[in-house]
């Protein structure tokens, strides 16, 4: 499988979750694990460009696929990705634990709806739980990200 553009062998242990493999074998700890039953969305990554729960996938299932994690959005030292920048500007994060999952979901959302309506925003982020922000600032961040992405 390819992770953030780099080829990696899949793990030997067939029951290893993709989330555990990313975090503990590859050291990509930006992908977080909040529930391990596919509800909270903290572990969202892109699989061939589409958001998926990495806690609901075995790592071996990613063989032959391309995985993008939060670390793959902006290189270290380079400017933030427009979605990351928008979350910063709009105070779309507090503790930051759910944030990578939200950012990946929003990247997927904007790919589908580059100029989302408020309803599409709510629907697009309705697979991710945040316990800190009450979502208002995240909604603002999605709209801002749409603006920034067009520039």
């Amino acid at each position: 499988m390819k992770v953030n553009g780099v080829a990696h062998p899949v793990p030997v242990d067939p029951r290893r979750l993709l989330s555990d493999h990313l975090r503990h074998d590859l050291g990509l700890t930006g992908t977080h694990v909040g529930c391990e039953h596919g509800v909270c969305g903290c572990c969202t990554v892109l699989l061939d460009g589409a958001p998926v729960r990495s806690c609901l996938m075995l790592a071996v299932q990613a063989e032959g696929h391309e995985v993008t994690t939060i670390e793959g959005l902006a290189q270290s030292g380079s400017p933030l990705h427009p979605v990351q920048q928008a979350f910063h500007e709009c105070h779309g994060l507090q503790c930051g634990f759910c944030t990578p999952g939200f950012v990946m979901s929003v990247v997927g959302l904007l790919r589908e709806h580059p100029d989302p309506t408020p309803e599409q925003v709510d629907e697009g982020i309705a697979g991710n739980l945040c316990r800190c922000t009450g979502y208002a600032s995240i909604r603002r961040a999605v709209h801002r990200a749409a603006e920034l992405s067009k520039k």
């Binding site: 242990d13 029951r15 290893r16 555990d20 975090r23 503990h24 050291g27 990509l28 700890t29 930006g30 992908t31 977080h32 694990v33 909040g34 529930c35 391990e36 039953h37 509800v39 909270c40 903290c42 994690t69 939060i70 670390e71 959005l73 902006a74 270290s76 933030l80 990351q84 979350f87 910063h88 500007e89 105070h91 994060l93 507090q94 503790c95 930051g96 634990f97 759910c98 944030t99 990578p100 950012v103 925003v121 709510d122 629907e123 982020i125 309705a126 697979g127 991710n128 739980l129 945040c130 316990r131 800190c132 922000t133 009450g134 979502y135 208002a136 600032s137 995240i138 909604r139």
Partner: protein, 785 residues
């Protein structure tokens, strides 16, 4: 011109690394650590007949399996954190249970293995034989004491406290009107997105125990570990790194893992980690909110409260590690922003066979607010008066501060409100709420509230200007998303005349600052914020003393501005703060970075010893702030809701908040706190209910069934502020962390009651609950016909 950062919408300095996935949460730390799993009781109440760990120990990859008998502290009761004379029957659990388990999730054995996967396999092989005992699960059943949770606690009563201000019986008897209410609040859960986690390493060579813990109180954990393991505190370092939300229950000490992980790391001479999974979080992490209130109110024909009596039962859960702080807070906060001339409150804190309770954002206050607001709505209904008007007639007026409630507060002092303007809050809220939307099944709720914040005993801060001119600052309390790194930097930057970007803050790391208490009770801004202000002020004063020599000026004529110490009115006569930091440390050996300027053969500005008598080297200071009493924040929420009369779906049409936490450090951060709090309040009022069955099994221990709101459930929240500064602290600030949650239940109860025309006397609600209430109401209607 003086730049001020305080009060500005400064964007957060902590965001960049969190957004790039470079945050550092406890489970992100591996470093070859062994991984561990706790074996937990599946019974709510049972005698342990035997524990067999032999098969688990034999599994390849398992390094150790511990039961109580393997622990030197296995027979030690864990501490009662906040003892109280009325907590006559306080009970705490042991690290691992060996005789009786008293709630589902109580820890029985601890497995350490080469990987988490193997540890979980081994945990399945631990055989525990239980003999089930009768279960007590509701507070009502606990108070009736059909069964005992602890054999030696008669009536299941851990504590009882009666307080009275005025003469309630006399005033009640004389009151023209009286009303009784039975009000009930069920358990909910804080559910931070990051569960709990602990990582520990014992460095034998350095004789040093290093613990990373997703705790709200690393300083207390450090003290406790030092006592338990017989180590000097200086050999124990506890770090709360990035913490993925706290909301209260991460300030318990000790959860068993907080002892077992360091113990195993010392014993096995390898780093050990433990990371909770979501299912165990639901039963093993403290919960809150279960209370049952019996209220009687006496009032006059104008709706003024003459006497209020509240007798309530608080669900302690199986143990009382946190003491009786929760019911104490409830007891003090029932009167809220209202004058209650005669007030009596009694509570009994009772044991149940459920997870122990300790503060969860709001901490006893949402229930208190619900009780008072439901009472006022009942008065309005009885007298056919406008609900808002009844509130206005009872509000404490702006000229009545300081206002004494007449009962005890959680810090050991009396509850005394420092400042506020409650009528102004109500006026502004109504203005923002605007006219009622057209349509059927629409209801309005409005609730002002107070929140005792900023409790002591103290916090401290260390501030240092480096020879580069950059500033580092540290405090003991950790951050769980409240933007400490930004708001403390704002406070320090103002004192030192530097840019906020030049101040780097560390919080919750005992290596950087070993003193303090923790992040809880909306106290960070008041305690640590003022400590930062004090410490930075001490640094500024020292910078002026040192610069006065260099500039041949009087310190009183100097100011810190633009990264310089300069003469007021002569901005060209100044020295960079970096140079002042160099000169604050006279030296023999220059080490670069401009430090040659302070060596012994350079011209000295002043005769006498290089370091003046009584002065310490370095441009740094440690300062503390200890509040004389709590600061009382306040606010008012109001909403219009629509309830579908067939599906009972709740639609929040408008939600407004007016908030007063004194002087605002960063409006952007404050609004985030309020928006998040209201969302938690909405969840707690309508979606989140811990559903225990009569066997003490939590039937909805997952996010599939415990329905935390998504964006689709949370409306836009409109927010405004008024500012009545606190007279109690230099910054004039009050706490804000819990404000968003407190009145939401009261507001929604009133609005739903009006929308559906059914009495609402309990929390949380749900579509099903509203359906049941509606049926009951129809039944009553039929019977009375």
């Amino acid at each position: 011109m003086t730049t001020r950062w305080f009060g500005e919408r400064v964007q957060r300095v902590e965001d960049d690394r969190l957004l790039r996935g470079n945050g550092r949460f406890t489970d992100d730390i591996d470093q070859g650590a062994l991984e561990s799993v706790l074996v937990r009781s599946p019974f709510a109440h049972a005698r342990i007949k035997s524990v067999d760990v032999s098969a688990a120990r034999a599994l390849p990859g398992v390094v150790a399996v511990y039961v109580a008998a393997d622990l030197p502290f296995g027979q030690t009761d864990l501490p009662i954190l906040i003892p109280h004379p009325n907590l006559t029957h306080g009970r705490t659990q042991r690290c691992l249970a060996s005789q009786v388990v008293r709630y589902v999730g109580e820890a029985v054995a601890f497995v350490v293995a080469e990987s988490r996967y193997v540890a979980e396999d081994a945990a399945d092989l631990v055989e525990v034989e239980y003999e089930a005992l009768p279960v007590v699960i509701t507070p009502e059943a606990a108070a009736a004491a059909a069964h005992l949770v602890h054999d030696d606690v008669p009536g299941n009563v851990a504590a009882e406290l009666l307080q009275e201000a005025g003469e309630v019986d006399k005033a009640m008897a004389a009151a023209p009107h009286r009303k009784r209410l039975h009000l009930r609040f069920e358990r909910g859960a804080a559910s931070p997105m990051e569960g709990r986690a602990v990582w520990a390493r014992w460095s034998a060579g350095e004789h040093r125990l290093t613990v990373y813990d997703s705790t709200q109180s690393p300083t207390s954990i450090r003290g406790g570990l030092a006592v338990l393991f017989g180590l000097p505190e200086s050999d124990v370092e506890v770090i709360a790194p990035d913490v993925g939300g706290g909301f209260g229950p991460k300030i318990m000490l000790f959860y068993p893992d907080e002892l077992l992980v360091p113990f195993a790391a010392m014993k096995l001479r390898r780093p050990v980690k433990w990371t909770e999974d979501r299912q165990e979080h639901f039963t093993a992490v403290n919960q809150e909110r279960g209370q049952v209130h019996e209220v009687e109110v006496g009032f006059d024909a104008d709706g003024r409260v003459l006497a209020l009596s509240d007798d309530f039962v608080h669900d302690a859960g199986a143990y009382t590690p946190y003491g009786i702080i929760l019911p104490i807070i409830t007891a003090a906060q029932v009167p809220g922003p209202y004058r209650v001339p005669n007030y009596r409150v009694r509570f009994r804190d009772v044991y149940t066979n459920a997870t122990p309770t300790s503060p969860y954002r709001g901490a006893g206050r949402p229930h208190a607010c619900f009780v008072m607001e439901r009472t006022l709505d009942a008065i309005a209904a009885e007298l056919s008066l406008d609900r808002v008007e009844v509130r206005r007639r009872n509000l404490i007026q702006p000229d009545q501060f300081p206002y004494e409630v007449g009962v005890a507060w959680q810090d050991g002092n009396r509850a005394i409100y420092d400042s506020g303007n409650y009528p102004a809050l109500v006026d502004r809220t109504l203005e923002m709420l605007g006219p009622r939307p057209a349509g059927d099944h629409i209801g309005m709720g409005l609730s002002p509230y107070v929140e005792g914040t900023g409790v002591g005993p103290y916090e401290g801060a260390h501030v240092q200007v480096l020879v580069s001119g950059k500033v580092v600052a540290a405090t003991g309390i950790p951050n769980q998303g409240q933007a400490h790194a930004t708001v403390w930097a704002q406070i320090v930057a103002d004192q030192l005349g530097v840019d906020v970007a030049d101040v780097e803050v560390t919080s919750g790391d005992t290596r950087k600052f070993p003193w303090g208490v923790g992040t809880f009770a909306s106290r960070g801004a008041v305690t640590a914020g003022n400590a930062m202000h004090v410490a930075a002020g001490m640094v500024a004063a020292k910078a002026k003393r040192v610069a006065a020599d260099l500039l041949e000026a009087d310190p009183a004529d100097l100011e810190l501005e633009g990264g310089q110490v300069r003469v007021k009115g002569s901005p060209d006569r100044g020295v960079p703060l970096a140079a002042v930091a160099v000169h604050a440390n006279p030296m023999r050996y220059a080490f670069g970075g401009g430090t040659e300027a302070a060596t012994q053969f350079t011209p000295r500005p002043r005769p006498g010893p290089p370091l003046p008598d009584g002065e310490q080297p370095g441009l740094e200071a440690t300062g503390y702030y200890s509040p004389p009493g709590s600061t009382w924040a306040s606010g008012c929420h109001a909403a219009y809701v629509r309830v579908d009369p067939k599906t009972f779906r709740l639609e929040i049409l408008k939600y407004v908040v007016v908030h007063d936490c004194g002087r605002v450090i960063n409006p952007m951060v404050l609004e985030g706190q309020i928006e998040g709090g209201v969302a938690q309040g909405i969840g707690g009022a309508f979606y989140e209910r811990l559903a225990y069955d009569s066997d003490g099994q939590l039937r909805n221990a997952s996010f599939m069934e415990f329905l935390m709101p998504y964006a689709t459930e949370i409306p836009k929240i409109e927010i405004d502020h008024i500012e009545t500064p606190s007279p109690l602290n230099p910054l004039g600030v009050k706490g804000a962390g819990e404000a968003g949650v407190i009145p939401v239940g009261a507001v929604l109860a009133a609005a739903i009651e009006e929308a559906l025309g059914v009495p609402v006397t309990e929390m949380p609600l749900s579509p099903l609950k509203l359906f049941e209430l509606s049926l009951e109401s129809q039944d009553r209607g039929r019977k009375s016909q």
